[in-house]
């Protein structure tokens, strides 16, 4: 699985790169518009180690952010699944927050939370949680009648049980979404770093953009992709593991 994932990523990356180079040579663009292979390689040698450290730094926050947003999505999803006024209220709130691009909310977040670790984390979690939330809402709102009938008939149904039944029956869908949301957590953290500008690969990308250095951006994208492939591979492995243990205890 994991090696395959990495090979596939490499293929995609180098296909993209080849496309860019084709544009470069096709339109005869100079090195400052699109850097040539030699320049990219040179940039790689110069920056790879530092950027890799940045990527790992970013990823560590992304992981915390993802965990946070999974919790958040579960919480909102569980409350919002109800067809009560409050349930739909929570849902409207959750949707609205998402509609606001983070760049518009950022000033307010910084006013309220300052510019520490917390703002970064919050922004990452906000970007990542919504897709999770949508899936959780979809899953949580749909009764599994053949299983739930007994508990309703006998007055045993509690919301925890309802959540457990629906989650278990949709375990496959949930793990797909959770594993997929890793990429969003990563993207979210990078955006947060980009905005808050203090550390991580998002910060490095901002500087590279500021200096108009596409070579550096290409290196950053490469390292982000590789690290993410590994992380996602691990997540999927964990998903399979959790599933096995939950199904066999």
């Amino acid at each position: 699985m994991l090696p395959r994932r990495i090979v596939q990523f490499l293929i995609i990356y180098f296909l993209g790169l080849a496309g860019l180079l084709a544009v470069k040579y096709g339109l005869q663009l100079s090195n400052y518009v699109i850097p040539g292979p030699a320049l990219i390689w040179q940039t790689f040698q110069a920056e790879a180690v530092r950027y890799l450290r940045d990527v790992l730094d970013t990823m560590s926050i992304a992981i915390i952010g993802q965990v946070l947003s999974i919790c958040l999505a579960l919480l909102v999803g569980i409350v919002g699944r109800q067809t009560t006024w409050f349930g739909s209220f929570v849902k409207v709130a959750a949707y609205n927050v998402q509609a606001y691009p983070i760049v518009a909310l950022a000033p307010i977040i910084f006013i309220l939370l300052g510019d520490g670790f917390l703002s970064r984390l919050l922004i990452a979690a906000m970007i990542c949680y919504f897709p999770l939330l949508l899936s959780v809402l979809g899953i949580m709102a749909e009764p599994i009648r053949d299983i739930e009938h007994f508990y309703r008939m006998t007055g045993r149904m509690r919301w925890q049980l309802e959540v457990k039944i629906r989650a278990f029956e949709n375990l496959g869908k949930l793990t797909t979404v959770v594993a997929g949301s890793a990429t969003l957590a990563m993207a979210g953290t990078i955006v947060a770093e980009f905005i808050a500008a203090n550390a991580g690969i998002g910060y490095s990308i901002r500087i590279a953009l500021y200096q108009s250095d596409l070579g550096k951006i290409l290196i950053a994208l490469f390292l982000i992709g590789i690290s993410l492939s590994v992380y996602q591979g691990l997540l999927e492995w964990c998903g399979a593991f959790i599933r096995r243990t939950w199904e066999s205890n």
């Binding site: 009938h149 007994f150 008939m153 006998t154 039944i165 939950w246």
Partner: protein
Amino acid sequence: MASSASMQLSCRQATFRYPRTATPVFEDLSFEMPGPGFNALFGPSGVGKTTLARLLTGTSRDFAGEIRMDGIDRVLYTYNTERLPGWSAVGTHLERIVAPGQHDLRDRLVALFDMQPHLASRFAQLSLGQKNRINLIRYLLQDFQMLIMDESLANVDEPTREQIILGIKDLFPDRFFLYISHNVVEVAKFCRHILVLAAKGRARPASVVSGRDHNRDGTPDRERLERAMLEIVNAA
């Protein structure tokens, strides 16, 4: 128990139609069925047994006429395609839903239903008849006065089914059972009263026929059994 003597299920002029359908499932349905006991609900496929059972549980109030249950407060309804949650073995599940002090009853039911060897299995690993059986066990462990069993033993073999029915009659003499089954012999032999819903076009939409109410002791009288069967078939 004293109260159980006065159980009575009655229905007057009940009419029910599914939303957006042309003809009602039943019209002006009336019957009276005394309890307690192991009673049946019988009738051709599509006649409205499941529909009536759902109305009896009181989940839907969308019908005309009156349904009364005297001396019956707690009605449970179980059907044969229910599933147990998949995260634990069926034995663990039983353990979780059994009321305190009912552990003895649980063990007796598990033995009666021949499910001892399968308690360690997940629900998905059971055969169809095994699924039927484990599902029925958990309902029998609940606190109820009336239990409607909608084809709950439809996929169980005859000897096991017979043993189960006799056992239930032994263990729960003061409850009102409404057993939905397509097996006329079984219904005639073991049930006290049989509510027969007739196919469309018959004169009487519903009639209550007396069964042989056979118990573990004593051999059934074949002739009277056949008469009961005939009466049921004619009513359907």
